[in-house]
């Protein structure tokens, strides 16, 4: 069933307004009907959250910017290492045999839970932020990229071999462009996770960033700033996802968008 663009827009608008109203009603219900003394902390009115974001805008943005920039740096580093490792694994069977089982096992291990350990090892806030974000990005990127490199159809490769193409030009012209969609699938998984990692490190004892805002407002009870920071960090995660999609559109314009 095809839904026209205009109709889809209408449906989305109704949903957005519906959620807003449901939230308002729920907040009203908590405060006025049940008389929950913690109502404002548990479920504040959405308009009061928006007002608080506007009021603390510069403050929130500078904190978010600090967290975001570290996450981006680690993300880029992790993506680069993952990319290179995938190429090495596709070039050498032995390298693949050694590292692939560990890559798979490491996906079963709750990596983010290890953040405090890395923090105690590195002992530097900014560095450990970058290390953790890079570490988290690295796995999905390399696994996805490798599966892309391995799924190039062999007749395409054979055609290039029959032209006596060099290994280098096979990679440049066929393998790497072919596996770009796979690479971006990995990047899409990793982007919100690297933001999460960066916020987590903030909360473990950084001096600035959105995570510190979350933690302070949580304990000091300044309720509106707390919800404003939660919304900001959620928006950061969603933003990171869309940045990756934007890059995907720039890098592989030949592919139809299916998200």
């Amino acid at each position: 069933m095809m839904i026209s663009r205009k109709e889809k827009y209408k449906v989305n608008l109704v949903w957005a307004i519906g959620i807003f109203i449901a939230w308002e009603l729920l907040a009203f219900f908590l405060e006025q009907v049940i008389h929950d003394p913690m109502a404002a902390a548990k479920m504040p009115y959405p308009h009061s959250v928006i007002i608080s974001i506007v009021q603390n805008f510069t403050d929130l943005m500078s904190a978010a910017g600090l967290t975001f920039s570290r996450a981006v740096f680690g993300f880029a580093l992790g993506a680069a290492i993952g990319f290179i490792l995938a190429i090495i694994m596709s070039l050498s069977k032995i390298a693949e045999k050694i590292s692939l089982p560990y890559l798979i096992v490491s996906q079963m291990i709750p990596v983010l839970g290890l953040a405090p350990i890395i923090f105690t090892l590195v002992r530097d806030m900014n560095l450990s932020r970058i290390v953790i974000a890079a570490y988290i990005t690295f796995f999905p990127v390399s696994v996805n990229m490798l599966s892309g490199l391995n799924s190039v159809e062999s007749d395409k490769k054979e055609l290039l071999y029959s032209y006596a193409a060099k290994k280098k030009s096979i990679y440049y012209k066929l393998m790497i462009p072919y596996s770009m969609p796979y690479l971006f699938a990995g990047l899409k998984i990793a982007a919100p996770m690297s933001i999460t990692a960066s916020i987590l490190v903030d909360m473990l004892g950084s001096s600035g960033g959105i995570g510190v805002k979350l933690l302070y407002s949580l304990y000091s009870g300044t309720k509106d700033v707390f919800w404003a920071s939660v919304v900001t960090s959620a928006l950061m995660g969603i933003l990171s996802y869309f940045i990756v999609i934007l890059f995907e559109k720039i890098c592989i314009p030949w592919r139809k968008q299916t998200t």
Binding site: M1, K97, M108, I109, G113, I117, T196, L215
Partner: protein, 255 residues
Amino acid sequence: MNEKIKNVLWPLGFGILVIIAWQVGIIHDALGFKPFQLPVPSQIIKTLSDNFSKALADTMITVSGALVGLALGCLIGFIVAVIATQFPKWGYTGLSVIAAFNAIPIVALSPIMNRWFTSGFAQKVGVVTVVCMAAMAINAYRGLNDLKPFAKDLLESYAAPEKVIFFKLRLPNCLPSVLTALKINVAAAIMAAMISEYFAASTSGIGFGIKDNLRKGMMAMGWSYIVMAALVGIILYLIIMLIERRAIKWHASQR
């Protein structure tokens, strides 16, 4: 030597090499770590075996919270996917709303849950539920709708009602994607449970154990908890893989 043994020997040899290098201090020298920062493997194993009953009890607390949340989250995610399939016009956006939850950092979720629930267990379950919902909803929706070409047309030409199409075609078809979602969610659930313990008021569980022991400077004990977390993650993943092997024998990925 045949291919299969080689496939095991290469990574195994590499792993043993790394552990030996770690044990004799090459890694410490190379990266400039002090022994109190990074305990050697033998010390971790000894600490773990000394405190095994306590570590196991804490692990059970975390895992039980993670599993309850996993079940709840997967159930909600699946129901959303079914609704989105049966009512595509209005339901699809609901799916996008759930998918947006995926981008919300866990660390922002757990303080919210702290405010909503007072018991540590309920907080954990709440965080894990939200984390697991998105992956299941997206994957199940894909499985319910990526039908083989003409399969739905065939059933419709038999005048099969929507209910029959759903139970005979869509439901079996979504099984592989549901299992994929489960595999993703197992690791995510344990991770979410651990992180929620970092910030919750709870005084037990793997997350609390890691945080508390590192704060007290008992690195080896903290590392033992990490070993436990890794083991639990691997065991749960293997269980899902076994179920997968039995449940979808007919699927291409298993042949």
